[in-house]
């Protein structure tokens, strides 16, 4: 007899690893994610010493520098609580790449492996650990969801964002063409290969706009920085005052839709 898979037990406390992008560029998304978790009766702990997961250096070919930064994060989550990350990309770094990054350092490798199993991307945590069922209190609207490549291919959590939006009774989720294609951000790629990156984000913004959705939501602020940055640049070129493609982190959207 094999045991049926049971969801992980509902924790009373979680750590929140905000990511450096959220801390500096999308703090509202971080606040909203924390509030969303707290409304589920979870105590959220934000270790103040946290900085960055180390991914920018890691993917750019500087693993030594990434290791220094990652080693610092390894020490910040002593209690055996889940670590919730509002980004598939940074969660993927911590969950899947930390053990490889510290392969030659037995002590840190063990720490990295112990941490790895506690790392959750936010939408995955909401759906699969908390069984969160958002109750929609907003007006009818149409949105389009962009899922990051790391969330999709590394974390395998592309369905949880869609499920949360699908649970909102009055929200219609539009389907863009080439949905699973990368937005063209890729960290330092966007500045090392600006022509290709520019062509990719141009196509992505066109696809998103072609759905007629009022806004784009995503669980990754790196993609949002790229997508919204290009959409706003296009608007500026066209002399538009209001954004033609507003967007926000899925946590902010969920919080607003479910606010009393």
């Amino acid at each position: 007899m094999t045991q049926a898979q049971t969801p992980p037990p509902r924790p009373s406390d979680v750590y929140f690893f905000a990511t450096c992008v959220v801390d500096q560029f999308f703090p509202g998304a971080g606040m909203d994610a924390i509030t969303l978790l707290e409304r589920q009766g979870i105590r959220v702990h934000f270790p103040e010493e946290q900085t960055c997961c180390g991914q920018p250096a890691y993917t750019s070919g500087f693993p030594d520098e990434a290791r220094k930064v990652a080693a610092h994060q390894l020490t910040l989550f002593p209690e055996n609580w889940p670590v919730v990350v509002p980004s598939g990309s940074c969660a993927g770094m911590m969950k899947h790449h930390y053990p490889t990054l510290f392969a030659a350092d037995p002590v840190r490798k063990a720490q990295a492996e112990a941490l790895s199993v506690r790392i959750y991307e936010l939408t995955d945590f909401l759906v699969n650990v908390l069984n969160y069922q958002p109750e929609d209190k907003g007006a009818e609207c149409t949105v389009v969801l962009h899922t990051s490549c790391s969330a999709r291919r590394e974390m395998g959590v592309h369905l949880t964002g869609r499920k949360l939006l699908g649970d909102l009774a009055k929200v219609k989720v539009a389907q863009q063409d080439h949905e699973s294609e990368c937005c063209g951000f890729g960290g330092t790629f966007s500045i090392k290969q600006p022509e290709i990156s520019g062509a990719m984000v141009e196509d992505k913004v066109k696809s998103l706009k072609a759905t007629g959705a009022e806004r784009v939501v995503s669980a990754d602020c790196g993609c949002l920085m790229n997508i919204l940055g290009h959409a706003a640049w296009k608007d500026k070129q066209a002399g538009l005052k209001n954004p033609s493609l507003p967007g926000e982190h899925i946590a902010s959207f969920l919080l607003r839709r479910t606010a009393k």
Binding site: C20, P27, T51, C52, G61, E65, H72, K192, V201
Partner: protein, 476 residues
């Protein structure tokens, strides 16, 4: 074709060539359409994700098993090929491979070689070598024939002329093939090519082909193709020369069916290719047809360098289906020629550095967002994004002794290294991070409106006036 010509430093001019394509809306649309078509064809072959995953795991295991015993298998292959009457030649470099092939041609006073599709022959630039030696090398695969007529190189490893429209091909045939009127009817165009090539098969002195799988236990060369030109090239001329890389070996005949199925379904979305040739030797006494001599040239050209490193070895698992190209958002934007290497796309980025050295290919690995689409579709599960990160490290790290790759450190820059060291110094220290990000939040309005390449198509980045940690502190 880009006006930025190819040269021996594919890295140089890569951005310029890529820019030429992305700024050409016609080409952008054309590549997008072609890749969407191929993506759809492949998806139709793998309706069941679990079956696909099982097959990919099997493909990976077969390739890793065989690479694991490559040296012994090469010895076994040579023994069994020799027993079957196939002459085996070893080439460490493209020059050596060309010299071997030209030597065989000259021994037969050959004037004309017909070629089935072979990317390894492109890798060694065999056509140039033949031309220099006064031997006409004629491509017989329709796509290869088109790019040869146009004086170009293949832009895709499976569909060499994917960058050409039927109108361009119509004009090309009209201009280059004597007595041909302009027609953009595809069937008529194929018929024109077929008529030209059919005659050549009958008079050619040498038939050249690639190899998809070389089976060690039986001494068999397997060749996958769709046009029948492979079969004609390997049977009609009196001498058949096959060329392949040393990694294309499998121990057992049983290893072939799963790999073949993965290959055709991943490459062109076909259940099985139209032709599958198994070549086991030259014409035997009493047989009426087939070549009287069969040769195999086994090429290294940097493959042993990849082989020597446990991680880089995974590069050699490749069965050359081209699915990574079809699904790559970068390849889709820029096409194959922009890469400047024989093998374009994700597989080109990870294998070319072993062939050409990192000096020539130092920045190629940066042309990826690491989106993972290539690794996701790879039928033998090559972890392409991980290998791209490794190549970035090999390229950008300071030159050191006993490197695992030729040209290690070729992309090393003191400035870039110092920037990352500075970054690490800030981000490993909560207090420094605190100061730097606090300054960023307070003085974000001082951020320049031009931020290098970022702002070429985006508005400038500005830190929020309050960081998340400030907001949390205020909330208490």
């Amino acid at each position: 074709m880009s006006e930025h010509a190819l040269n021996f430093m594919p890295s140089e001019g890569f951005r310029a060539r890529a820019k030429d394509v992305v700024e050409n809306p016609f080409l952008r649309q054309s590549f997008r359409g072609a890749m969407d078509f191929l993506i759809g064809k492949r998806a139709g072959q793998f309706p069941n994700p679990e079956e696909l995953e099982t097959l990919r795991t099997l493909g990976e295991q077969i390739r890793q098993y065989n690479l694991g015993k490559l040296p012994a298998l090469l010895v076994q292959l040579e023994e069994n090929l020799s027993r079957n009457g196939i002459q085996v030649h070893w080439a460490e470099t493209p020059d050596e491979a060309n010299a071997i092939i030209l030597g065989i041609c000259q021994a037969h006073s050959a004037k004309l070689m017909v070629k089935g599709k072979s990317m390894v022959s492109e890798e060694i630039e065999l056509n140039h070598a033949c031309e220099a030696a006064g031997i006409e090398a004629m491509e017989s695969d329709m796509g290869e024939y088109i790019v040869q007529l146009a004086g170009e190189k293949p832009s895709h490893i499976i569909m060499p002329a994917i960058h050409k429209t039927k109108e361009e091909i119509a004009t090309l045939f009209h201009e280059k093939v004597p007595g041909v009127d302009y027609t953009d009817n595809v069937d008529a165009l194929i018929q024109i090519g077929r008529n030209v090539l059919r005659e050549k098969f009958l008079v050619a002195d040498i038939g050249l082909s690639g190899v998809n799988f070389a089976v060690a236990e039986t001494g068999t060369l397997c060749l996958v193709e769709n046009e029948g030109n492979g079969r004609l090239s390997t049977t009609a001329p009196p001498v058949h020369i096959a060329i392949t890389g040393i990694e294309k070996i499998v121990e057992k005949l049983d290893h072939v069916p799963p790999l073949l199925s993965l290959l055709t379904r991943s490459a062109t979305g076909q259940n099985i290719s139209t032709y599958f040739n198994m070549i086991s030797g030259p014409r035997k006494a009493g047989e009426k047809d087939g070549p009287t001599e069969v040769h195999l040239v086994l090429l290294d050209n940097g493959r042993t360098q990849a082989y020597a490193d446990e991680q880089l070895r995974k590069t050699l698992q490749c069965i050359r289906c081209g699915a990574c190209m079809n699904h790559c958002p970068v390849y889709t934007r820029i096409g194959g020629h922009a890469y400047g290497t024989t093998y374009p796309g994700p597989i080109g980025k990870i294998i070319s550095p072993h062939m050409l050295g990192l000096e020539a290919t130092a920045t190629m690995a940066t042309a990826s967002t690491l989106c993972g689409a290539c690794g996701e579709v790879c039928p033998v599960k090559i972890p392409i994004p991980d290998l791209l990160m490794r190549l970035r490290e090999e390229s950008f790290s300071a030159p050191h002794e006993n490197p695992s790759m030729r040209g290690q450190g070729a992309g090393y820059s003191r400035l870039m290294t110092a920037v990352w060291q500075g970054w690490a110094a800030v981000y490993r220290s909560p207090s420094l991070y605190g100061v730097v990000t606090w300054l960023g939040s307070r003085f974000g309005w001082l951020m320049p409106s031009r931020q290098g390449p970022w702002t070429s198509v985006r508005v400038p980045l500005k830190p929020a006036p309050k960081r998340l940690r400030d907001m949390l502190r205020e909330r208490g």
